[in-house]
């Protein structure tokens, strides 16, 4: 099976969508001649022209609102918010408008808005450019939140997102763009709300999403060398959330750890941990653990940034401590 990068997977997903859906257009900052801040839309302007690939001024709120309005008017917008940090400038349009119009109108209107954005730290971009807000969006009824970790999932999930009639926040990770993975040429779709066991195991459940799936897998490899067989569950979507797959895993292993890059306080990992204890308490041999980003603004220093983002060593240590090793 051919391998492609995560960037190529997202790019392919967008290109095929634009070719098949005349009502789809892309709007965002530097998506045109520049090719996208992370080069996802490179060459798109040449292929699809300025009607379909629309350059936007630095006006996040109006960009999202325009997308929402155009969706109400019958288009299928793909709005690119350059990084999730800038989504804060558009929070009103996302949370107060896009997410609520179907419900508030009694179901009269649909907002098929795809909001692509880039999450995460690890590129030494400092406190304002290294955040992970996808968990915030996941707490908003009316939104769907998709967080692919691999090229296969990025392409397959985007194909599912295209079928949605509601706003979806499609969250790519800054450090995943150059990672590679197998992607078949044949068409396939990864449905929303279906978690994936990326590595089977029977002694410990590690729950993760986006880049932390790779961290969890690296940790599981290390744990295997030390005689601990961990299972890695990739959520793939935060909303709709496939908690059943997580619970079934915990019922097999009796132990769970959630690893996430966002701040620990009020993070989405707390939601997962809470649902596990609510619904699988009797299966648990120990408290549900969390390994999360340090509760600080992201430092610029290379060493301190590394200390602030969960890595395999932190996961390995947490698992071993829990097992009394």
């Amino acid at each position: 099976m051919p391998t492609i990068t995560y960037r190529e997977a997202v790019s392919r997903a967008l290109r095929e969508a634009l070719r098949e859906d005349e009502r789809m257009y892309i709007l965002g900052e530097d998506v045109g001649a520049y090719g996208g801040a992370y080069a996802v839309t490179r060459g798109f302007l040449q292929e699809f022209g300025p009607r379909r690939i629309m350059e936007a001024p630095i006006s996040e709120s109006a960009i999202v609102g325009t997308g929402t309005g155009s969706a109400l008017g019958g288009l299928h917008p793909v709005i690119e918010i350059m990084t999730i940090n800038f989504s804060l400038l558009a929070m009103d349009q996302i949370v107060n408008h896009a997410a609520k119009i179907r419900y508030m109108s009694g179901g009269q209107f649909s907002v098929p808005l795809i909001l692509r954005t880039v999450t995460g730290g690890g590129a030494q971009l400092g406190a304002t450019h290294s955040q992970s807000f996808e968990g915030w969006f996941a707490s908003v009824p009316g939104l769907k939140v998709v967080v692919p970790a691999t090229p296969y999932d990025a392409l397959g999930l985007f194909r599912a997102v295209r079928q949605e009639r509601d706003p979806v926040v499609f969250v790519e990770h800054i450090l995943l763009y150059s990672t590679r993975g197998e992607v078949p040429e044949e068409p396939y779709v990864v449905p929303l709300g279906v978690a994936d066991i990326k590595r089977p195991g029977d002694q410990f459940t590690i729950v993760a999403y986006s880049r932390m799936v790779l961290v969890a897998l690296a940790a599981a490899e290390e744990l295997a060398k030390r005689g601990i067989n961990a299972e890695v569950v990739d959520l793939r979507c935060l909303r709709p959330l496939d908690i059943e797959t997580v619970l079934q895993s915990v019922q097999r292993t009796g132990r769970a750890l959630v690893v996430e890059e966002a701040w620990k306080t009020g993070g989405f990992g707390a939601e997962i941990a809470s649902q596990i204890q609510e619904r699988a308490f009797d299966s648990l041999d120990a408290p549900v653990l969390r390994v999360a980003g340090a509760d600080v603004p992201m430092p610029y220093s290379r060493e301190l940034e590394r200390a602030a983002i969960p890595g395999p060593a932190a996961v390995v240590q947490a698992v071993e401590t829990a097992l009394g090793k």
């Binding site: 609102g65 325009t66 309005g69 109400l72 288009l75 179907r102 508030m104 109108s105 009316g142 509601d166």
Partner: protein, 327 residues
């Protein structure tokens, strides 16, 4: 007589009176229902501003879009929403125009391209830009009427939206209802160019003008020109309608920040009384005719209240309905 008046037949001129009376009586009765506890939440009355909705919306075609703010009852009624479904929405009933899920500030009607009342100041502006973009992208003959208040001028979204509408030359009419107050703050204290707010769009090269928002025929005449120009591909336009709300910001506001003299000044320019005087003075309608119209409107609103009272609440299952097309 204004050209707009000359161009209109008796029926249309009298219909403006009927419509403005309806908007007025609807709001007065809604206020009573609020005092009786049947309408809850925020209730922002449109009393005093009726000439704008009646005059402006009369110039639209059925395929045109309206996106507006939270003082939206008058706009909905002028667009032809049945007073019954608007009143039922205020009552939170399942027969309401938003099935009881939106309330006073969030009226919607897809069948009339009434794209919603939006209750976060300025929020409807980029939505209107997007509607204009869709019409333009799909090469549809549609104009977007985006109604905003003077308070929205100070939102960043206002400027973002003007810029986008201008660079893409979208078919959007921005109609600013300047009622001189953003809640309790006088526009002249919170806005740097309060004397000529319509000029705020000049740096974006958007043409603009001001109209007397207390005169339905003046609004009609101005909007006819504006809508025609925008429909013909002239790009966006900004029209400021000077007006005054005769009541507080909402039912929760006793309006103590305005002087009696100022209120009296504007009361003398009551748009409903003014148009009534116009019809009588020009022999277009008789006292008796207008009295009959007034009674008819009263009955229509009473019927709307009965309808709202007798309608059922949404079923408990509605709590989780219409959240997603595909949950």
């Amino acid at each position: 007589m204004k050209p707009a008046a000359q161009a209109l037949d008796k029926r249309s001129l009298v219909d403006f009176y009927r419509q403005m009376r309806l908007l007025r009586i609807f709001e007065e009765r809604a206020a009573e229902q609020y005092m009786r506890g049947r309408v809850r939440g925020f209730l922002h009355l449109y009393i005093g501003e009726e000439a704008i909705a009646a005059g402006a919306i009369s110039t639209l075609e059925p395929q045109d879009y309206i996106a507006t703010h939270y003082r939206d009852h008058g706009h909905a009624l002028a667009r032809g929403l049945d007073p019954k479904v608007v009143m039922a929405e205020l009552f939170g009933k399942v027969t309401g125009c938003s099935k009881g899920m939106g309330g006073s500030m969030h009226l919607f009607d897809a069948s009339r391209n009434f794209m919603g009342g939006y209750a976060i100041v300025g929020g409807q502006l980029p939505l209107a830009v997007g509607l204009g973009l869709a019409a333009s992208y799909l090469k549809e003959n549609r104009v977007v009427l985006c109604i905003l208040g003077d308070g929205a001028l100070n939102e960043g979204e206002f400027h973002e939206s003007m810029n986008l509408a201008a660079i893409w030359r979208l078919p959007v009419v921005f109609l600013c209802e300047n009622n001189l107050y953003g809640m309790g703050s006088p526009v002249k204290e919170v806005f740097a160019a309060a004397d000529e707010i319509y000029r705020i769009v000049e740096p974006y090269h958007i043409p603009s003008s001001q109209v007397d928002g207390m005169d339905v025929l003046a609004v009609r005449e101005a909007m006819e020109g504006v809508v025609g120009r925008v429909r013909d591909g002239g790009g966006p336009y900004f029209l400021e309608a000077l007006t005054y709300r005769f009541r507080g910001h909402s039912m929760a506001d006793p309006s103590e920040y305005r002087s009696k003299e100022e209120e009296a000044f504007w009361q003398k320019r009551d748009p409903v009384a003014k148009h009534r005087q116009f019809l009588l003075a020009n022999g277009i309608a008789s006292e008796a005719e207008l009295e009959t119209i007034g009674q008819g409107v009263e009955e229509q609103v009473e019927e709307a209240i009965r309808f709202a009272e007798e309608s059922p609440d949404p079923a408990p299952e509605a709590l989780y309905e219409n959240l997603y097309a595909n949950p």
